[in-house]
């Protein structure tokens, strides 16, 4: 298999087949992270396109000696952040409720419904986070990035990443803890 390094060198020579190979290699990861941040498949797709166009345009800026994924995540995070901050005012809790209603199926078996509801709860809790915290959570837990990598991706000190992660975990503990308490009360017949 051709290495990323070779593909980047080829891309620098305007070899578009190299861009195609890199797209095939990383499209799912980029799309998944973009979708997790923006929660709109069409927008996530646009971000995916822009991300690979930037890879083509700035191929000379990419260091072939370093892993490509953090660079792609950096562009994805920037593009997603720009989108979210422009559209933040339009997002309301009603959107989250609507999404939960549309994604959970009443006819599915109990186990599947429970599982989907749990996933919805986790997604909804993450969506309630401030954009900065949400991006850190997604890069750390979904994209498996280290704190050092996230600091480089977001262009901020590691301490800032740690702090965002700390406060994000606290908020998630609060949100998910409330769901846990509710479920326990329900299971014991208090509700």
């Amino acid at each position: 298999m051709t290495t990323d390094q070779e593909l980047i060198w080829r891309l620098r020579e305007r070899d578009l087949s190299a861009l195609g190979e890199l797209f095939e290699r990383y499209r799912n990861q980029v799309y998944r992270v973009a979708l997790a941040i923006v929660r709109d498949p069409q927008v996530a797709e646009d971000i995916l396109q822009d991300c690979f166009l930037k890879l083509h345009v700035y191929a000379h800026r990419v260091d072939p000696e370093r892993p490509l994924m953090p660079w792609l995540y950096r562009v994805t995070a920037n593009l997603s952040y720009t989108y979210v901050s422009r559209h933040q005012k339009r997002n309301t809790d009603l959107d989250l409720v609507a999404e939960q209603l549309s994604t959970s199926s009443a006819q599915a078996p109990d186990r599947v419904t429970e599982h989907t509801e749990l996933q919805n709860s986790v997604r909804a809790a993450i969506e309630k986070l401030a954009t900065n915290q949400r991006i850190v959570i997604i890069l750390h837990y979904l994209a498996n990035m280290s704190l050092q990598d996230i600091a480089e991706i977001l262009d901020c000190p590691v301490g800032t990443v740690k702090s965002r992660l700390h406060y994000a975990r606290e908020k998630l503990r609060h949100e998910l803890g409330a769901i846990e308490n509710l479920s326990t009360e329900y299971a014991h017949g208090y509700a």
Partner: protein, 121 residues
């Protein structure tokens, strides 16, 4: 069974379990457009776009998508600021210089108008 329906509360100890939960909450989803079509669109656009050379890339360091480390970026920002500061100083000097010129002009005009009167500026 009950544990499956309860969310894992993130903390230092169950970081890995929470990671799995997040991964499950955001599964790899199918894109609205087929990847081949998307790639075709990217390639068409890419063909029309010029690449930024490495020299241009250095000049465009303020662009958000860059692979430099935070410390390097801070150094670059400071360097950029130091380039800006002298020009501001020059502008201020220029403004001061104009005032001096204006003062000299007034002095000359006054003296010219009052030649022989014995009144000097």
């Amino acid at each position: 069974m009950d544990t499956l329906s309860l969310p894992i509360i993130p903390d230092e100890e169950n970081d890995e379990q929470f990671k799995r939960q997040v991964q499950e909450a955001f599964p790899v989803e199918k894109m609205p457009t087929a990847p081949e079509i998307l790639l075709e669109r990217i390639l068409i656009k890419a063909e029309a776009l010029p690449q930024v050379s490495s020299e241009d890339a250095v000049a465009e360091e303020t662009e958000s998508a860059s692979d430099v480390s935070p410390s390097v970026r801070i150094q670059q920002q400071r360097a950029a600021q130091s380039k800006v500061t002298p020009s501001i100083r020059q502008v201020r000097q220029l403004q001061q210089f104009n005032w001096q010129l204006y003062h000299q002009y007034l002095e000359r005009s006054w003296n010219k108008a009052n030649v022989g009167s014995g009144i000097q500026f």
